[in-house]
């Protein structure tokens, strides 16, 4: 066991970690930040994506001890300072980009990383970038729309009626 400290969502946070403690477990069990989800064990589904030092990382595929001193942002850190939904979060609600909500934290974190790198992605670029995030509910249609909308691009309104 080793005490690991990171700056999580802007605040210094510490919790113990074994060598084998994954970042996802450290966040969920150590800090009780349960917004980060684990949906697979082969680094495929992306439900666990967080930002480490500003870059998207699958938190189930990195050891907590390796990230001592890192800056981490999780879904809990994506809202505005006043508690209102952040830009990407709001677009997901506005465009019905989530259903069961389980893949959503990873989707939002991946989408935010994309928009940082590419502020006006095309539909194809959004779809390609989300290659490492699996959603079983939405068919991705409204996720893609939400990401496009969050980038300030015009999209069709959510319900045809």
């Amino acid at each position: 066991m080793k005490k690991v400290t990171m700056t999580v969502n802007g605040a210094a946070r510490s919790a113990d970690a074994e060598g084998r403690t994954l970042l996802s477990d450290w966040l969920r069990e150590g800090l009780r930040l349960t917004g980060t989800h684990v949906g697979c064990d082969t680094s495929q589904c992306g439900a666990c994506v967080v930002h480490v030092n500003g870059e998207p990382v699958k938190s189930c595929s990195v050891f907590a001890q390796e990230l001592d001193g890192a800056e981490v942002t999780t879904i809990e850190g994506m809202a505005n300072a006043d508690g209102s939904l952040g830009k990407v979060q709001q677009a997901f609600q506005d465009y019905h980009g989530l259903q069961c909500g389980f893949c959503t934290p990873g989707m939002v974190m991946a989408a935010a990383a994309l928009l940082k790198e590419n502020p006006q992605p095309s539909e194809a670029e959004v779809r390609h970038y989300l290659e490492g995030n699996i959603c079983r509910c939405t068919g991705y249609h409204n996720i893609v729309k939400a990401v496009m909308a969050a980038s300030g691009q015009a999209v069709e309104p959510v319900a045809a009626e």
Partner: protein, 790 residues
């Protein structure tokens, strides 16, 4: 103009805020003080005699509290099956026991042998590895047709053979059907496989069992679509705990798609073990474990034949299906290939004679049960494929062949025992054709060909029976449960309402759409209505969410309870305004007396109910809370027409879905945004089945597609933007909302149009390919192109 509130509006989902901020409360987020962790040792062979389990080394390992084996469950009930099918001879199906932990034999890879309860999950897993099971491996039966051959190894030694049942439907029609085939002008036949799938909700299953010695009560937190059903099955049939001593909570659940309907061994284990060790017990499935312990879906092998007369009218349909049950009967498994499949074989067509034979087979594989659509995708796929093939054989337009045979008059009693109350199949087909620019297809095909690609257009129709289901009917058909739904509407003194529903939301958005209905009925703001679900401590009873039933059945119960509330509130209002009850009207949250300017507000009446100073206490009780149970008197029958356009790369066999259009008739629609989202998700799963997903075993019963490395889940760039429309609306005639259900349509309706489109593309390139089994992976498509005669 789109509506802003109430029925027909698309308010933003209120549940989204917690999901988007990481504040959802899923079962794995629940940790109970003093909690222990269980890890299951699972069989790594498909079939074997379990001669013993040596737990001695594991028992002394760090953190280990107790190790359980099958012997600990002697005298404890096994997992029950909720449906008994009667075979074509009138005999009940063969129904083997399903122990919580293996006893005497292991019957599939993943069958739980032992359970280690330890202080931490890793300690439990360390110890599970140190358990030594003594397994004498036996030959596995995997292929269904071989499983029913004389002399095949038996999955269950005590059964006659591996045939669960041999079902004929309608057996009395068989001779007439055979005669129609003998007299047919044309017969089209097709042999096909409906591929085995894994539902794969993104949240793996979790169970937390807790026991309170002080009042001898148990609580189970579980990832379920129907906590009340789990309470009933586990309490009454497995552990012998009466309902009042057992609470089942299904909090936020990360998708279900059918696979979280069923009562699983791990749920019973955690509840049982928590009492045994007097500490809470938690199990969290890994994804790899999910592949070998979640019930799988589909897995039918079918021969279908369609008879037509000289004018291309369908005269008879005959099918023979082998349906895989897996190693044990999962909760509703026997109903899926029978009452959810045979009854749908008429589809949208007025075929007068139909005979369906289904042989349900035990094999050494994971149990198979309902997965989104459950039986109806299998029916739709074979029917819409054989109709398409017939059109090609006859050289007629596949759309026109369908139209010619459409049912036109409703209600329509099919030859397979159901009565469609309403529908308009030409309307959805017209809408579809409007959406897809069929006239421009030839030009689009030319453009693809110029780029070295083959382009195809596939069309199909579908009908489904949902809003499951009339209890008296399903009781006759073998259901061991009722399929009503309940709701309690509690009005608080200041006018807000809480609706406790037996329906469960695991993505469907009930917390948003159900209030739209209640708020509309009363004329108040939706924010005044809160939905509570997922806890047996709240709603009186609940059959849960599956079979596209939540709004049609659960919503109807909520409407009935709200009607009772309104009726009582009118009595109170009549008293307050000194008017006759019959003259009271409720509109926009105001009670008025017809023909006068008298009025009292909703809030005045609700306050009077709880502060009954001026109140008709001699006639009615104080308070304002009502419960209703709603039992539908028929299924609902959503229908639609779908089209898919694909491009095939002839060099690699890769299929790209360029467009997908869905014209659905769901009857009335409460929240169009949510309805469209449901269709999108269903389409993705149906296209996934058609092109990507395949749960495969080798001949020894090893699972080949055991992780996402080999089981291909649809990703964002596998799919196009969808065109969806639900403007064709023939309201359901027998439920108060006129709704039909929309959750499964996309998954039911989409696989045939994808396959029809690929066949169309290949034939356009001169390839004599009439069928490819799903999934139409690049290698299969390329293989079909390169073995078929050019």
């Amino acid at each position: 103009m789109p509506k802003d509130t109430g029925i027909g509006a698309s308010p933003k989902r209120r549940e989204d805020v917690r999901f988007l901020t990481g504040k959802g409360r899923y079962t794995d987020d629940i940790n109970v003080a003093g909690q222990t962790h269980v890890v299951f040792l699972r069989s790594d062979v498909a079939h074997g005699r379990l001669n013993g389990v040596d737990t001695s080394a594991a028992a002394t390992m760090p953190g280990v509290i107790r190790i359980f084996t099958g012997a600990d469950f002697e005298g404890v009930g096994g997992l029950p099956c909720g449906w008994q099918v009667t075979d074509k001879h009138g005999d009940p199906m063969q129904e083997p026991p399903h122990p919580i932990l293996a006893q005497g034999k292991v019957r599939h890879v993943g069958d739980p042998i032992a359970a280690v309860v330890a202080e931490t999950r890793e300690q439990a897993r360390d110890a599970a590895e140190a358990i030594v099971p003594d397994i004498e491996e036996l030959p596995a039966v995997i292929d269904m047709k071989k499983a029913v051959e004389e002399g095949a190894p038996k999955v269950h030694d005590d059964l006659k053979n591996n045939l669960c049942y041999d079902w004929g439907f309608v057996e009395e029609n068989k001779a007439a059907v055979d005669e129609a085939f003998a007299n047919a002008a044309h017969v089209t036949s097709l042999e096909l496989v409906n591929n085995r799938l894994v539902a794969n909700p993104m949240e793996p299953r979790v169970a937390v069992g807790d026991y309170a010695m002080h009042d001898d009560s148990s609580t189970l937190y579980t990832t379920s679509q129907n906590p009340h059903v789990i309470r009933l099955l586990m309490g009454a049939f497995v552990l012998g705990i009466p309902e009042h001593k057992l609470r089942v909570v299904a909090p936020d659940v990360g998708g279900g798609f059918g696979t979280k309907i069923f009562h699983y061994a791990e749920e019973a284990f955690c509840t049982f073990a928590a009492k045994q060790i007097q500490r809470p017990v938690k199990w969290t499935s890994t994804r790899s474990e999910a592949f070998m312990s979640d019930a799988h879906g589909r897995d039918h092998v079918t021969k279908i034949e369609l008879a037509l007369d000289a004018e291309n009218n369908f005269t008879a349909l005959r099918t023979e299906t082998y349906a895989n049950m897996g190693a044990y009967l999962s909760t509703f498994a026997p109903s899926v290939p029978t009452w959810l499949h045979g009854t749908l074989m008429a589809g949208n067509y007025k075929t007068p004679l139909i005979y369906v034979n289904v042989k349900a087979v035990f094999t050494n594989t994971v149990p198979v049960d309902a997965y989104r659509g459950a039986g109806r995708p299998e029916a739709t796929f074979q029917l819409e494929r054989v109709v398409d093939k017939a059109a090609r054989e006859l050289g007629v337009d596949p759309v026109e062949l369908r139209r010619q045979n459409f049912i036109q008059e409703f209600p329509y009693a099919t030859p397979v025992a159901v009565e469609y109350d309403t529908g308009d199949y030409d309307a959805t087909m017209d809408k579809l054709l409007e959406m897809i620019d069929r006239d421009g297809f030839a030009e689009r095909r030319r453009q693809s060909e110029a780029n070295g690609k083959l382009r195809g257009l596939g069309v199909n129709c579908y009908i489904e029976a949902c809003g499951i289901a009339p209890s008296n009917l399903v009781g006759q058909l073998g259901a061991r449960a009722g399929l009503y739904e309940s709701a309690t509407v509690r009005v608080n003194a200041t006018g807000g309402l809480v609706v406790m529903t037996g329906s469960h939301s695991h993505g469907q958005g009930h917390e948003t759409s159900f209030p739209q209905v209640v708020a509309d009925m009363i004329g108040i703001d939706e924010s005044q209505v809160e939905i509570v679900h997922g806890d047996t401590a709240n709603a009186p009873m609940g059959m849960g969410t599956y079979g596209s039933r939540s709004l049609a059945v659960g919503g109807s119960a909520m409407v009935r309870a709200t009607e009772k509330i309104i009726a009582k509130a009118k009595k109170i209002a009549a008293h307050l305004m000194e008017a006759s009850e019959g003259d009271i009207e409720l509109k926009d949250g105001q009670f008025t007396v017809a023909g006068t300017d008298k009025s009292v507000a909703w809030g005045d009446v609700t306050l009077a109910a709880y502060v009954p100073h001026n109140y008709p206490l001699e006639d009615i009780e104080p308070g304002l809370e009502e419960t209703a149970f709603y039992d539908p008197n028929n299924f609902t029958y959503p229908s639609g027409a779908y089209a898919c356009e694909v491009e095939v790369d002839p060099e690699t066999g890769k299929v790209d879905v360029l467009s997908f259009a869905a014209a659905d008739d769901f009857g009335n629609v409460v929240n169009p945004m949510i309805v469209e989202g449901q269709v999108h998700g269903g389409l993705a799963q149906g296209i996934g089945q058609a092109l990507l997903e395949n749960c495969a075993y080798d001949e020894d019963g090893q699972l080949l597609s055991a992780t996402y490395m080999d089981y291909a889940m649809p990703r964002a760039h596998d799919l196009p933007m969808f065109q969806v429309d639900h403007s064709c609306q023939t309201p359901c005639t027998h439920n108060p909302l006129g709704v039909k259900g929309c959750g499964e349509a996309g998954a039911i309706g989409s696989p045939p149009s994808v396959v029809n489109a690929v066949i169309d593309a290949l034939q356009s390139g001169g390839h004599d390919v009439t069928h490819i089994d799903m999934p139409l992976s690049p290698s299969r498509v390329w293989g079909a192109m390169n073995t078929a005669a050019q």
